[in-house]
């Protein structure tokens, strides 16, 4: 969303010209969770601004979760002697990490200044914290993938000094990557929630669980898709657990969000979210019940991957939609005012 262009698309000609809009809230009917609220706005224009982010960011959310989950699976596979699953996890993590990094840099207004992310370490900034988390996670994930790569080299090459060193770091790097992986999956929820975007902020209690669930489910899906069935037992369990976590927490999230859950049900976002739930549930069931069947496992894996992607895109777009409509800023604040009075600091 650019500062120059939104004017064109948001330019509004009110039904009552020359006068700020006053309209009924709670449009869209049966899923409305609050009583109809009348609210006032300035010509229907947004109060808060939607993030200037495009598909890069939900793609990053998805890929980051996938990378984190994959590193966990890779370490588990390594420690439990599942080489194909390990390879899938490590290479999947690297690939997803690569997509993540590309998306992050691509989304910047000044990509050439990406390195400024490392200028500071700001605890108040989930993006800064995330950058440092990625900085801790990325090298290990990369080294683990590199070590995995050395296995593909001929024996003679693997004996050369640097390569040999990599080989010796194989397991430690994989384990370190797994240690730093969960924060990668979890911080992105804070990244979204730590904003004034109504449907992101109001989701802050449950969103981390939804996201780790989604990340783990996606990684499990990748494992199911790429690893031979004899190695994917843990992955099937993980898929079921992660999907359950995601679905349950997503449901609780919607309950606690009040009016700001509304955008999750409308239009394209509604379709995405319904698809997410269906795909995730189906993938989990398929994995749990049919995971020993190669074809079913692959299908379940794909469903989990797609479900995770839909979750990320859905939640991302729901937030953007909630920012574009002043209702989601005004009405909750008005209701809180009526309920509790203004928010005031008390010693």
């Amino acid at each position: 969303m650019s500062p120059a262009e939104p004017h064109l698309e948001q330019r509004d000609t009110e039904a009552v010209p020359g006068r700020p809009g006053r309209r009924k809230g709670g449009r869209g009917g049966e899923r409305s969770m609050v009583p109809e609220a009348e609210f006032t706005s300035y010509y229907g224009r947004p109060i808060v601004k939607p993030a200037p982010w495009e598909a890069d960011i939900p793609a990053y959310l998805f890929a980051g979760g996938l990378a984190a989950g994959s590193s966990l699976i890779a370490a588990g596979a390594d420690l439990t002697g599942r080489p194909a699953l390990r390879r899938t996890g490590r290479l999947g993590a690297l690939g997803a990490l690569g997509v993540s990094m590309f998306a992050l840099v691509h989304d910047l207004g000044k990509p050439s200044r990406f390195y400024n992310m490392l200028r500071t370490a700001k605890l108040t900034s989930p993006m800064s914290v995330g950058t440092w988390i990625l900085s801790l996670y990325g090298p290990w994930a990369g080294l683990a993938a590199a070590a995995e790569g050395t296995r593909l080299l001929p024996e003679s090459a693997r004996r050369r000094a640097p390569v040999a060193l990599l080989g010796r770091l194989d397991r430690p790097t994989g384990v370190l990557a797994a240690v730093f992986a969960p924060p990668v999956a979890a911080y992105t929820a804070v990244l979204l929630s730590d904003t004034a975007t109504p449907s992101w902020h109001e989701a802050f209690r449950e969103l981390p669980f939804v996201f780790v669930g989604s990340g783990a489910a996606a990684a499990a899906g990748l494992g199911l898709l790429a690893a031979p069935v004899h190695e994917t037992g843990p992955v099937r369990r993980l898929a079921a657990g992660a999907a359950a976590l995601e679905l349950v927490m997503e449901h609780r999230m919607e309950q606690s969000m009040g009016l700001t859950a509304e955008p999750l049900h409308h239009g394209k976002v509604g379709r995405l979210m319904r698809a997410a739930k269906g795909l995730t549930a189906a993938g989990a069931v398929g994995a749990a019940l049919g995971g020993r069947h190669r074809g079913l496992a692959a299908a379940s894996g794909l469903a989990l991957l797609a479900g995770s992607a839909c979750t990320r895109f859905g939640i991302f777009e729901a937030g953007q939609a909630s920012a574009r409509d002043p209702k989601y800023t005004v009405v909750p604040q008005r209701e809180r005012l009526e309920r509790e009075g203004p928010v005031r600091y008390r010693e």
Binding site: P3, A4, H7, R11, G18, R19, P20, Y42, Y43, R45, P46, I47, V48, K49, P50, P52, G76, R82, G109, P111, N116, M117, R119, T120, S125, M127, T131, P182, P183, A186, A189, V190, L191, T195, A196, W200, R205, L207, P208, F209, F211, A216, E231, P234, R237, L238, L245, P326, V330, Q333, R334, R336, L337, E338, G341, P342, V343, R344, Y345, R346
Partner: protein
């Protein structure tokens, strides 16, 4: 919990420049008090701001929303004058803010306070008597919050707290990540996307409270230009007193609609460095009714995320603890 290192560093009353590491010799906090009851909607502030700060023209088409063709605050619009045409209206909802009238005392009027009222001739034949009507104008600007979400979420340190307590973008640092944009509870800051050839395209832009002018001991361009001194510049402490006096004066004159917005250091953003005297509800002017800085909840967010990460790790571990193949 509303702090990380120092008391109130995420919420509550705070001297923001002290918190940001400026020493005892720092200047007093500077800010704006915008008294919309004397705004004439001339847009001198918008122009003076653009001239001084080299902010590019945004667009050249008419919005047909009263005289507001600037649309909103954004990277290319650091001051924005809102124009609201409405009946002298029903009683405002009690915001619990200082200066809000009891709802039964409001009907009196707008005539004394800076909004004229029409009393058109008594018409029949299809022409109704003109209702009580007023035209509100208000010059909006970055609030320079005590707890500034844009600044806190900025990953590069481009947005920084100046020694004057203001919130400023360092054009040479910002990499255009855009995180500050959704963080702002007022929708002030945005990334400059054009027009092509303008300076600073791709990075976040907003009011700097004319940091360079303050440094030179000058008044910010908008406040200096403002013909009626609707925009007043000064030490925030002193401006708060001035605002209290003004609202009391208006109440005495029967303008019970007058209320202050953003002046309370206990409010959701720790008090704004740029606050307002409004004649109607904030959302009428396009401002949030009772904003709370998002970072107030940050510790809780991090705790939840940490728990989630542990759950993820544990879940993965558990999955592998089962039977071996």
């Amino acid at each position: 919990m509303t702090s990380l290192f120092n008391d109130n560093d995420l919420w509550g009353p705070l001297d923001p420049s002290a918190d940001a590491g400026y020493g005892e010799d720092r200047p007093a906090r500077k800010g704006f008090f915008t008294d919309t009851s004397i705004c004439i909607g001339c847009k001198a502030c918008e122009v003076a701001c653009k001239e001084w700060n080299d902010v590019p023209a945004d667009h050249f088409d008419m919005t047909a929303t009263s005289y507001d063709n600037s649309h909103s605050l954004n990277a290319n619009q650091w001051r924005h004058v809102a124009f609201v045409e409405r009946p002298a209206g029903p009683a405002p909802v009690d915001l619990g803010m200082p200066g809000v009238a009891p709802t039964d005392a409001v009907s009196a009027g707008s005539t004394a306070g800076g909004a004229g009222s029409t009393a058109g001739g008594l018409l029949d034949n299809g022409a109704d008597a003109a209702p009580d009507f007023r035209w509100l104008m208000s010059s909006d600007v970055c609030k320079h919050c005590t707890h500034a979400a844009c600044l806190d979420v900025c990953p590069t340190g481009s947005l920084f707290r100046s020694e004057f307590g203001t919130v400023v973008v360092q054009d040479d640092i910002c990499n255009g990540c855009g995180y500050c944009v959704p963080a702002c509870p007022y929708g002030v800051i945005s990334r400059r996307e054009g027009p092509d050839g303008s300076r600073n395209v791709g990075i976040a832009q907003k009011c700097t409270l004319c940091y360079d002018r303050l440094d030179a001991g000058k008044t910010p361009a908008c406040a200096q230009a403002c013909p009626t001194q609707s925009i007043q510049f000064g030490d925030v402490e002193e401006l708060r007193e001035r605002a209290d006096a003004r609202v009391a004066q208006l109440h005495e004159a029967g303008v019970m609609d007058a209320r202050l917005y953003g002046n309370d250091p206990d409010d959701g953003v720790g008090g704004a460095g740029a606050f307002f005297l409004l004649l109607d509800e904030p959302e009428v002017y396009g401002m949030p009714p009772d904003p709370v800085v998002t970072t107030k909840d940050l510790p809780q967010m991090f705790r939840r995320a940490t728990t989630a990460a542990v759950v993820m790790f544990a879940g993965a571990a558990l999955s592998f603890l089962g039977r071996r193949p």
